[in-house]
């Protein structure tokens, strides 16, 4: 470029941007690391073929708490916190509602909530767990991308990346998350990702003695879960929030929130 040549504004801007971008490209080339190894889970399991969903049959649940105990053992859930828990709803004739979940029902229920003389209209159990929402609030608020939707529709927490700020715990409208005090990270139901990717049922599904829980592939029209959803009428928890939960509750009562 000679000293006489004039650079007009347009040329200057173009030149500067190109230079900046060039720097960035050179920089990435300089600092580039070898491409990450392929994401392999388990043999014969391609996450792109799956969208995991869950069905809870509240008409079958007997409130024994086997699922809570199995989950706690399988996933080493710290005492006092629950990735799944069982709630009991008792509605008296005068419409008083009694909702209980003593220690998440990890030791079941030892007695009725209402006294023996109370006229109870109906009573039932509702097991709860992460809804693995399609439009989850918890993953949206994570400032570091530590909680995410897996390609197969499971909401997971990356424990090495999570910094334990707790935004997701506050964001979940279903109370399905907690801060793991031992590890300082957010903790939640993984839908037993280490089991379902091996073709095993989740710990809670396997533990349920009455078949009140079912986990399956919503993408497969012939799967048990799709069959059940065709046959039975179901509800969702807080559907008006627009979180599009993938946990379907058979026989869900209006009183359940």
């Amino acid at each position: 470029m000679s000293a006489d040549e004039k650079l007009d504004r347009r040329e200057f801007v173009t030149f500067s941007l190109t230079a900046g971008a060039g720097g960035a490209v050179i920089g990435s080339a300089v600092f580039a690391r070898p491409p990450a190894e392929e994401v392999t889970l388990h043999e014969g399991y391609d996450p792109r073929d799956f969208t995991w969903g869950f069905v809870v049959d509240t008409t079958r649940c007997i409130g024994c708490g086997s699922c809570v105990r199995a989950c706690a053992k399988e996933n080493d859930v710290p005492e006092g916190y629950y990735r799944t828990w069982v709630e009991r709803y008792e509605i008296a004739k005068d419409e008083t509602i009694n909702v209980q979940s003593p220690r998440g029902a990890i030791a079941g229920f030892l007695r009725d909530g209402f006294g023996p003389d109370e006229a109870v209209m109906k009573a039932f159990f509702v097991p709860k767990l992460c809804n693995h929402c399609l439009a989850s609030a918890c993953t949206q608020v994570c400032p570091v991308g530590a909680t995410f939707h897996s390609p197969d529709g499971v909401i997971l927490v990356d424990r090495t990346h999570c910094m334990g700020c707790g935004y997701c715990v506050q964001a979940c409208p279903y109370g399905c998350r907690f801060l793991n005090q031992e590890l300082g990270v957010a903790d939640k139901c993984t839908l037993c990702y280490h089991r379902i990717t091996r073709g095993l049922p989740t710990a809670c599904v396997q533990a349920c003695p009455v078949g009140a829980r079912l986990c399956g592939n919503l993408d497969d029209e012939d799967s048990e879960i799709r069959k059940k959803l065709r046959e039975r009428r179901y509800g969702l928890l807080k559907p008006d929030l627009g979180t599009r939960p993938k946990c379907f509750y058979i026989g869900l009562d209006l009183e359940v929130v």
């Binding site: 900046g20 720097g23 990450a36 994401v39 079958r60 399988e74 006229a119 090495t160 710990a203 003695p209």
Partner: protein
């Protein structure tokens, strides 16, 4: 130093290049590897989470060695209960027995508990209002009341084998379907004392006698009429309209009540010593499964080979 007209541009250019380099350099340091490959997260986390070892092995794993017990369980009503619900997760047990990955696993760690605690049974079977009525459930005090044992609790396993809790005569899987059974307590809590037939305006309900009239009338005249039909013909609801009903004539089922045990009161219920009873009576046990009803059917109700209550002249 003489400034050329382009010096400021060269400086700017250099700064931009350096800035770009610095940005990338810092970014690469801060953003973890594999971040963004599949989405705004670390793709490697997927494999890390999936790599965790399952603790619960499932019944198929138990069946590898304990086929006899698993077969027994499959035939009775506990067929839907996973072995590890009572015995605990079997990962260490299986790893130790299979000899894989045996570093540090001792025989003690691999031992699975034999749960015999009444509290464990009651987790499922304690009577609660919220439990579905078709699920078998008991009031623990009421249930053993006829045993007349004061004070300490009796363990469930003293009568019921957890692997074979009610000793079905027919396999649980092949038990016949029956239109859904409604009992008073399905709708009424507490159950009114007036029989349904005497309640004016009560919606008609099917009772056993409506279809099995002759049998029920006969049954009412015999000593077992103090128990209900469902005591022996247990049922579980399998759909909105159907129950699965079991036929119980198995000798072990009769012994649930009638076997002599230190905590049972012979004044409350006829008791026998088993299997000494067979020898005392010099009975050749032709069919060990049905032995009791072959002699004692007349205490229950008319069987296909028996006579009516009148004919037996009771």
């Amino acid at each position: 130093m003489r400034h050329r007209r382009t010096t400021h541009l060269t400086r700017g250019f250099t700064l931009l290049v350096l800035g770009g380099l610095a940005y990338q350099g810092i970014r690469v340091q801060l953003v973890p590897a594999t971040f963004g490959e599949l989405g705004t997260y670390r793709a490697a986390a997927l494999a890390e989470i999936a790599a965790e070892q399952p603790l619960f092995q499932g019944r198929d794993a138990c069946n590898e060695c304990h086929e006899d017990i698993v077969d027994t369980v499959r035939k009775d009503t506990h067929r839907t209960v996973n072995c590890e619900d009572c015995h605990g997760p079997a990962q260490l047990h299986v790893a130790y027995q299979m000899g894989e990955d045996d570093e540090g696993i001792t025989a003690e760690m691999a031992l699975l508990p034999k749960e015999k605690d009444r509290a464990l049974c009651l987790l499922c079977h304690r009577r609660l209002r919220a439990r579905p009525v078709s699920f078998p459930q008991i009031d623990p005090d009421e249930h053993v009341a006829f045993l007349r044992r004061d004070g300490a609790a009796v363990d469930c396993v003293e009568c019921h084998s957890p692997h074979e809790p009610i000793f079905l005569l027919t396999d649980a899987e092949s038990a016949r379907l029956h239109p859904v059974i409604r009992e008073c307590f399905h709708c009424h809590d507490p159950v009114p004392e007036t029989p349904v037939a005497e309640v004016e305006g009560h919606v008609p309900v099917f009772q056993c006698i409506d279809c099995h009239g002759e049998l029920v009338e006969d049954f009412e005249k015999r000593p077992h009429s103090i128990v209900s039909c469902a005591t022996c013909h247990l049922y579980t609801q399998v759909s909105d309209t159907a129950d699965r009903i079991f036929k119980n004539g198995n000798v072990k089922f009769c012994l649930l009540c009638h076997e002599e045990k230190p905590f049972k009161d012979p004044a409350a219920i006829p008791l026998v010593r088993w299997p000494a009873h067979l020898d005392e009576e010099e009975i050749a046990a032709v069919d060990r499964e049905k032995t009791c009803i072959q002699c004692h059917w007349e205490k229950i109700h008319l069987m296909s080979w028996g006579e009516t209550a009148e004919e037996t002249d009771r």
